[in-house]
């Protein structure tokens, strides 16, 4: 039992397990994750070393090994989780093992140090004095030292000793870092158990109350309905995509409860579920908005290419009979309209622009856009704030453990016959070089002030 404890408490195990995790993680970056068996057969067959591809037989063999060892989904494989578990046990045991000692060092009674113990300290400095009165030396030393930013403690028994320390709690910095890793793991676990990741392709004007799990494509019920009112693609002048955006409406029991405009990096949150603009899919169809200006009635109709559509309220039939595109972007569409009384008209319109037209005295406008489906990533992750808390703890812990150190200084006044002197002793738990400089300049400062 004891040896098992020691095994898990050792830093050597930490190094070994970190090495193993780092090394095995490489495989998942070389072998694309999450594909089918056939895909891997094909993938390995076409890998070539020095010109000749491995071929289907070797490809098959590699594919078998890959799927057998779960390398095709290695970051959630049993063996990867095993390594992470060992790391976690290692961290916990190591901390339980060491923290009591650290607490002892933090709370240590520094004023009871014997002269013999102080004499062993490498960092020391003697300041000789004319004054021989220990009492008055002590009191001026106290004022000087505290004016230099070091709080002093006096020994109740030893009149000739003064002690000062800085940031004893900084010794806990490393353990804050280690704790932060546990917190991040806890957050990830919460997200895995209680949350879901899913996606859905939602065509314009359609609605859904289920989305599909990224893990196994199973249906996830949202508990409410989302409708995609429109999807828009914007381009820069040079043809690069500028923004993808969707207008979404949330409905509960058929009633609209929220409208939102989402973009990449600007998701919609509702009921703890977040909808991210992730992708899109263009269709051959159009979404046409028609307005009868006199009667002020409007309609928005899904319009397949080259198909005649009736709008009874506006007493119109129409269709998109032709479309031109430049570099895959729709440039203009030819519209055919007719009310049954007059001869039909055709004219060109630009996409996403309201265009007026007239049949005799009746005024209308038409707005035509290509139809898209918006690709939404849907996520519920109640663990994400725990993960962020862990990240914050990690940065705080790193700052404390690297930029702060537990520094201690003792001042002892020595009277040997006619000569009196202050002897300073210093230790620190890290950054010895930096502390040496601080210690010496502090001593210089004290020497100047006390002999002045």
């Amino acid at each position: 039992m004891n040896s098992l404890w020691n095994f898990f408490a050792s830093v050597r195990l930490a190094i070994v397990i970190l090495c193993i995790i780092a090394f095995t993680s490489i495989f998942g970056t070389l072998i694309p994750q999450g594909n089918s068996f056939e895909w891997y057969v094909n993938f390995f067959s076409h890998i070539s070393f020095s010109g000749t591809p491995l071929g289907p037989d070797t490809g098959q063999r590699f594919a078998v090994i890959t799927t057998l060892l779960d390398i095709d989904k290695m970051y959630s494989s049993w063996w990867y989780y095993l390594f992470l578990t060992i790391l976690i046990i290692n961290l916990i045991v190591c901390s339980i093992d060491r923290i009591p000692t650290v607490l002892k060092q933090i709370k240590m009674d520094n004023l009871s140090f014997t002269q013999a113990r102080l004499d062993k300290m490498k960092l020391n400095r003697q300041i000789s004095l004319q004054n021989t009165d220990t009492q008055s030396i002590m009191s001026s030393l106290e004022t000087i030292v505290s004016s230099l930013g070091w709080k002093t403690q006096k020994s109740p028994t030893n009149q000739a000793m003064l002690f000062s320390e800085k940031s004893p709690w900084s010794r806990m910095g490393v353990y804050i870092v280690h704790l932060s890793i546990l917190v991040i793991f806890a957050g990830a676990l919460i997200g895995n158990l209680l949350g879901f990741k899913a996606s859905v392709m939602l065509p314009e004007t359609r609605q859904t109350d289920i989305v599909y799990s990224t893990k196994d494509s199973s249906a996830v019920n949202l508990g409410f309905t989302v409708r995609c009112d429109s999807f828009t693609l914007e381009y820069y002048d040079n043809g690069m995509p500028k923004e993808y955006m969707s207008e979404l409406t949330v409905l509960e029991n058929g009633k609209e409860v929220k409208k939102a405009h989402i973009e990449v990096n600007k998701p919609l949150r509702y009921n703890g579920i977040t909808f991210y603009q992730a992708s899109y899919e263009p269709y051959q169809d159009f979404v046409v908005t028609l307005k009868d200006i006199q009667q002020s009635v409007t309609t928005k109709l899904l319009t397949p290419f080259q198909q005649q559509i009736k709008w009874p309220e506006g007493n119109l039939s129409y269709g998109v009979i032709n479309a031109d595109s430049i570099q895959n972007r729709l440039a203009r569409m030819k519209i055919w309209v007719s009310d049954s009384a007059n001869p039909p008209q055709t004219f060109w319109v630009k996409p996403n622009e309201e265009t007026p037209f007239q049949i005799n005295d009746k005024k209308y406008t038409i707005y035509v856009k290509q139809m898209f489906a918006t690709g939404l990533q849907v996520a519920q992750d109640p663990g994400v704030w725990v993960v962020y808390l862990g990240c914050l703890l990690m940065l705080v812990g790193l700052y404390v453990s690297f930029f702060m150190s537990h520094r201690k200084i003792w001042f002892v006044v020595k009277n040997s016959g006619s000569a009196t002197s202050i002897i300073m002793y210093g230790t620190t738990n890290k950054n010895k070089m930096g502390f040496t400089t601080v210690f010496q300049s502090l001593a210089d400062n004290i020497e100047q002030q006390i002999t002045a």
């Binding site: 830093v11 990830a188 990741k197 690069m240 500028k242 973009e263 990096n265 996520a379 993960v387 790193l398």
Partner: protein, 282 residues
């Protein structure tokens, strides 16, 4: 004068700085040393001006964004950060002989960015995924980390050169002017720690950004995974220091090897593996 001209000239001035620091190292000339420092500082200010101008030019083109968005701009920022950290180090430790081990990295980064045919140097607008305030914090934190690791590696080389010579018991010649081994060891340790903090920050800002764009803070995409591998590598190094039996030489080697991990994460992944971060391969 436009920014690409200024940044092109900066490549040459950093080359000249490298030559100056080589002279300082070879001939221990103090006069050249002072000149090297001031010249490098001037180049640095000039480069800063170039970066700001590029920023301004992007606004004039109508899609303003900080110049931190593609491989070229990141190379410029990488060299800028290396010089900034180097000048601080030189100021703090008052040793100019460090220069020859560090300034060449800044030159190489600029030279690669300015000359390599596969690198696109145009100021281009941002694709939707990159339009986020997290982009800037992510790139800045990562590259401060990378630059610190480059410094650590430069000093690792210096440590190895010097310790190879002291093994031979010829403590004279060129390397004798370098700081003492424990001092170099201390600087290596400190810069690696500094880099580790910033790399941690870089991974965190990247995760927060991914979560705000896609709803997943971690998706094991090759670049993410490699940054984690690199992070593990430095965590291992910090712990290795703690376990007894490892001397400064091993740490120096680890500092050098660490830079290989950094460069693979930064550069190799974009060109050799595919993933979300493929914007770098444009």
């Amino acid at each position: 004068m436009d920014s690409s001209f200024i940044l092109g000239v900066t490549t040459l001035t950093y080359l000249f700085s490298t030559v100056l620091y080589l002279i300082v190292f070879l001939f221990k000339s103090n006069k050249v040393g002072v000149f090297a420092t001031w010249f490098t500082l001037a180049s640095f200010i000039f480069q800063t001006f170039g970066v700001c101008l590029r920023w301004y030019e992007s606004y004039k083109l109508g899609f303003g964004h900080a110049p931190l968005t593609n491989m070229y701009e990141s190379l410029v920022f990488f060299s800028w950060t290396i010089i900034a950290l180097y000048l601080y180090l030189e100021f703090k430790y008052k040793v100019r002989t460090l220069g020859i081990f560090i300034v060449p990295f800044a030159f190489l980064s600029m030279a690669y960015g300015s000359l390599a045919p596969e690198i696109n140097r145009d100021i281009s607008p941002l694709i939707p995924a990159l339009q986020s305030n997290w982009l800037i914090s992510h790139v800045v934190t990562c590259f401060i980390g990378y630059a610190a690791f480059a410094l650590a590696a430069g000093m690792g080389i210096m440590y190895l050169a010097k310790s190879a010579q002291s093994d031979n018991k010829k403590q004279s010649g060129l390397l004798a002017t370098l700081p003492e081994l424990p001092v170099i060891d201390d600087i290596i340790h400190k810069t690696m720690i500094f880099g580790f903090i910033w790399l941690s920050g870089g991974i965190i800002t990247g995760a927060v950004w991914a979560n705000s764009a896609w709803g997943t803070y971690w998706s094991w995409d090759p670049k993410e995974t490699w940054s984690l591998i690199t992070w593990f590598f430095y965590a291992i190094t910090l712990h290795a220091r703690y376990t007894r039996g490892l001397n400064g030489k091993v740490i120096a080697w680890l500092a050098v090897i660490g830079l290989i991990f950094v460069l693979f994460t930064y550069y190799g992944v974009n060109f050799l593996l595919s993933g979300l971060h493929s914007y770098g391969s444009q």
